[in-house]
C-alpha cells in the first residue's frame, strides 16, 4: 500500500510482512523492517510500540482512501492507495474540470453582526462579505474569488457554524 502524508512530499510504501501472534508484527516501510507490538486497540485508536518506541494514535475519521489521525498529539492526514500515482492523476483532473468552488464558506462559527453585500453585487477576491462575532471578537469573512453574489444564505444576528455556506460567488 502507498501512503502520502499531507504537506510532506515523500510517499511511503508500507505493509505487514509477519504476524507473530501475541500482537507482535513485523512491518516494512520502504526498505526498512520494524518490530511492532500492539498494546491496546479499538476502532477509535491504537497504542503500540514500534521498534523500541511507544506511540499512541487516535483515528479521527477514516474514509476509503483518507485517514485523519492524531499521533503522539500531532495531527496527520494520510492518503492511501494500492497505487498512488493514479489517485494524484484523478484528483488533479477533477480540480481542472471543476475549477474553484463557488460556495463561500465560513471558516469560523459565530453570530452575523453585519452584511457588506447584497445579492447581485460584484465582489473581488478579498472583499469583505460579512462580519461575524465570536468570543467577543469581530472577524471579517472575505470573498475567496471574484464573482457575483448569489444565494446569500445569512441574516443579521443569525448564527453560522464553521463550514456553513455564506453565499455563492458565481
Amino acid at each position: 500500500m502507498d501512503y502520502k502524508i499531507s504537506d510532506i512530499e515523500k510517499n511511503f510504501d508500507g505493509k505487514i510482512i509477519e504476524n507473530n501472534g501475541n500482537n507482535d508484527y513485523v512491518i516494512k516501510i520502504d526498505d526498512r523492517e520494524h518490530q511492532l507490538r500492539i498494546l491496546t486497540m479499538d476502532s477509535k485508536g491504537i497504542e503500540f510500540i514500534l521498534d523500541q518506541k511507544y506511540h499512541k494514535a487516535k483515528y479521527l475519521s477514516t474514509l476509503t482512501n483518507e485517514m485523519n489521525m492524531v499521533i503522539d498529539n500531532v495531527p496527520i492526514t494520510l492518503n492511501m492507495n494500492t497505487h498512488f500515482d493514479k489517485i494524484v492523476y484523478k484528483n488533479s483532473g477533477g480540480v481542472g474540470s471543476g475549477g474553484v468552488q463557488t460556495a463561500l464558506k465560513s471558516q469560523i462559527p459565530g453570530k452575523v453582526v453585519s452584511i457588506a453585500v447584497n445579492e447581485g453585487d460584484s465582489v473581488k477576491k478579498g472583499d469583505v462579505v460579512c462580519t461575524l462575532e465570536s468570543m467577543k471578537m469581530q472577524v471579517a469573512v472575505k470573498a475567496h474569488k471574484d464573482g457575483v453574489v448569489k444565494n446569500l444564505k445569512i441574516k443579521p444576528t443569525a448564527t453560522v457554524a464553521k463550514g456553513d455556506i455564506i453565499a455563492d460567488l458565481e
Binding site: N23, I27, I76, K136
Partner: protein
C-alpha cells in the same frame, strides 16, 4: 469575617477562586448561564444558581439577578474575577449599598482608575511618569508644535474620538506635524463630526511590564514584583513571565516605589496591577491600573509563594498586610502561556465547539488553571482563554524547558489552539535571549517559523503514522473476516 463568597464569573477564574475558598473553609456560591449547566465551576462550588441566558448581558453582566442570588443565598461577599463586572464601579457600589463585601477596590477608586484622563492626572500629581505628551487636548497646531519639540520627535497625533488605528498619525518633524494635524482633524470630523487632538511621544520596541500591587484598608502598600507581558497579538497578551529579563533588583525597587505611590494616588485597596510601557532606552511610563485580580496572577504567586485570592479575602476582611516590602523575596522564574481556542493561521480567529478529549499537563512546578475536561464545550459566547499553563523553575531555562514539556503533553481535541505557536516561540533564540517587545511575533516572523516547525514535526511522526495506518487497515480486514472464521486475537483487542 467572610464566610460565603458568591463568584460573579465563570471559567477558570471562578474555579481559581473556589479553590482557595474551599481550602479556607469558606462556602462558595456559583452562578451560571444556560450555556454553563455542565461547567466545572457549577460542580465545584458549595452551591450553584442559574441566572439566565447564554449572552453575558442576560447572565454574567446582569447585576440585578446576581444581587438577588447574593441575597437569597446568604453570601456575605462577592468575588468578581476578571472581565464581566470586575471593573464596573456601579456594581461595586450596588454591593456596598447592600452591605455585601466586594472583594476589590472601593467603587470610587475603581471609577477613578477607569477614567484614563483623571487617572493620568492623579499619576502626574504623584510624580509617577506617564507617556510624555500634552497634558490634555491641544488647542491648535502651534501648541502641538511646541509640545512635540519639548518631548522630541517622533510623536503621535491622536484624535480622542478615533480608535482602531483611525485618527492617529506618526510624525517625525515639524513639517510632517503641520500636515498631519490637518489630516487627523479632517479625518476625525468626517468620521464623528468633531475633532480633539492630543500629542504623545511615540515609543519604539516597547516592552509591556506590569507590577502587582497590594494595599490594605489601613494604607499599608507593597508591590509584589513585576511581570513582563510583551508577547502579544492585537494588544492581547499571549505569554507572560516573571522576573522580566530587563528588570534588575535596582530597577525593581525603583519602579516598585512608583507603584506604591500610584496605589496611594488613587486610594487603591486590595490587589491590582499597574501597567507600564518600557521604552528601549530603559524608561518606564505608567499606562493604566487594572483594578482587579489579573489573568496572569499565577506566575506572581509562584515566585512570591503567596496565595493572591487568600490575600484578597484577608484585605477585604479589613486585615492588615501580614508582611512589609522587605519581607517579600522573589524566588525563581515563572512563565505563563495562555492557551486560547483560536486558529493561528486564520489571523487568530476563534475556534469553538465540543472537546471530546483533553489531556491536561501536570507534574512538579507545572500549574494549569483550566475549565477543560473531557466532554466539555468551548462556548462561542465567552472569551477564548481555555487554560493558563504556568511553570516554575529555579532558573529561567528550567522554567522554559518545563513549559515545553508541558505544552507537548497538552492535548485538546476538537478546537484549534495556540499551543503549537507557543512551542515555536519558546524554542526560538529570540525568546531564549529575552529579546522581547510588543511586536515580537511580527518582528521575528514567528508564524513562518511555526509553519516550518509543524512540517518538521510531521516528518518525524510519518513512519509511526504509516505504521498506525497499516495496522488499522489490517484490523478492518480482519474484522470483516471474523464473521466467518474465529480470530480471537483481534477480537480480544476490541472493546
Amino acid at each position: 469575617m467572610i464566610e460565603k463568597v458568591l463568584i460573579a464569573n465563570r471559567g477558570e477564574i471562578a474555579l481559581r477562586v473556589i479553590r482557595t475558598c474551599t481550602a479556607l473553609g469558606i462556602k462558595t456560591v456559583a452562578v451560571y448561564s444556560d450555556e454553563d449547566y455542565n461547567s466545572l465551576h457549577v460542580k465545584k462550588a458549595t452551591e450553584a444558581y442559574h441566572i439566565g441566558e447564554a449572552a453575558p448581558a442576560k447572565s454574567y453582566l446582569n447585576q440585578e439577578k446576581i444581587l438577588e442570588v447574593m441575597l437569597s443565598s446568604g453570601a456575605d461577599a462577592v468575588h468578581p474575577g476578571y472581565g464581566f463586572l470586575s471593573e464596573n464601579d456601579d456594581f461595586a457600589r450596588l454591593c456596598e449599598k447592600n452591605k455585601i463585601n466586594f472583594i476589590g477596590p472601593s467603587a470610587d477608586s475603581m471609577n477613578l482608575c477607569g477614567d484614563k484622563m483623571r487617572c493620568k492626572d492623579a499619576m502626574l500629581k504623584a510624580q509617577v511618569p506617564t507617556v510624555p505628551g500634552s497634558p490634555g487636548l491641544v488647542k491648535d497646531v502651534e501648541e502641538a508644535l511646541k509640545i512635540a519639540n519639548e518631548i522630541k520627535y517622533p510623536v503621535l497625533l491622536k484624535s480622542v474620538y478615533g480608535g482602531g488605528g483611525r485618527g492617529i498619525r506618526l510624525v517625525t518633524n515639524d513639517k510632517e506635524l503641520k500636515e498631519g494635524f490637518e489630516t487627523v482633524t479632517s479625518e476625525s470630523i468626517s468620521a464623528v463630526g468633531k475633532s480633539a487632538i492630543i500629542v504623545e511621544k511615540f515609543l519604539e520596541k516597547t516592552r509591556h511590564i506590569e507590577y502587582q500591587m497590594c494595599r490594605d484598608k489601613h494604607g499599608n502598600a507593597v508591590h509584589i514584583f513585576e511581570r513582563e507581558c510583551s508577547i502579544q497579538r492585537r494588544n492581547q497578551k499571549l505569554i507572560e513571565q516573571t522576573p522580566s529579563p530587563v528588570v534588575d533588583q535596582e530597577t525593581r525597587d525603583r519602579v516598585g516605589e512608583l507603584v506604591v505611590k500610584a496605589a496611594e494616588a488613587v486610594d487603591y485597596t486590595n490587589l491590582g496591577t499597574a501597567e507600564f510601557l518600557r521604552s528601549d532606552d530603559g524608561e518606564f511610563y505608567f499606562i493604566e491600573i487594572n483594578a482587579r485580580l489579573q489573568v496572569e496572577h499565577p506566575i506572581s504567586e509562584m515566585v512570591s509563594g503567596l496565595d493572591f485570592v487568600k490575600l484578597q479575602l484577608d484585605i477585604a476582611n479589613g486585615e492588615t498586610l501580614p508582611f512589609k516590602q522587605s519581607d517579600l523575596k522573589m524566588n525563581g522564574y515563572a512563565i505563563e502561556c495562555r492557551i486560547n481556542a483560536e486558529d493561528t493561521f486564520l489571523d487568530f480567529a476563534p475556534s469553538t465547539g465540543p472537546v471530546p478529549d483533553v489531556t491536561i499537563p501536570s507534574g512538579p512546578n507545572v500549574r494549569c488553571d483550566t475549565y477543560l475536561y473531557p466532554g466539555c464545550t468551548v462556548s462561542p459566547f465567552y472569551d477564548s482563554l481555555m487554560a493558563k499553563l504556568c511553570t516554575w523553575g529555579p532558573t529561567f531555562d528550567e522554567s522554559r524547558t518545563k513549559m515545553l514539556t508541558a505544552l507537548n503533553d497538552f492535548y485538546i481535541q476538537g478546537v484549534e489552539t495556540s499551543i503549537p505557536l507557543y512551542k515555536t516561540i519558546l524554542n526560538s533564540e529570540e525568546y531564549k535571549s529575552g529579546n522581547l517587545s510588543t511586536d515580537f511575533l511580527k518582528r521575528y516572523d514567528m508564524i513562518e517559523k511555526l509553519t516550518e516547525d509543524l512540517k518538521t514535526e510531521k516528518v518525524e511522526k510519518s513512519e509511526a503514522a504509516v505504521a498506525a495506518a497499516i495496522i488499522h487497515s489490517e484490523f478492518f480486514k480482519n474484522r470483516t473476516q471474523t464473521n466467518e472464521t474465529s480470530n480471537s486475537n483481534w477480537k480480544n483487542k476490541l472493546d
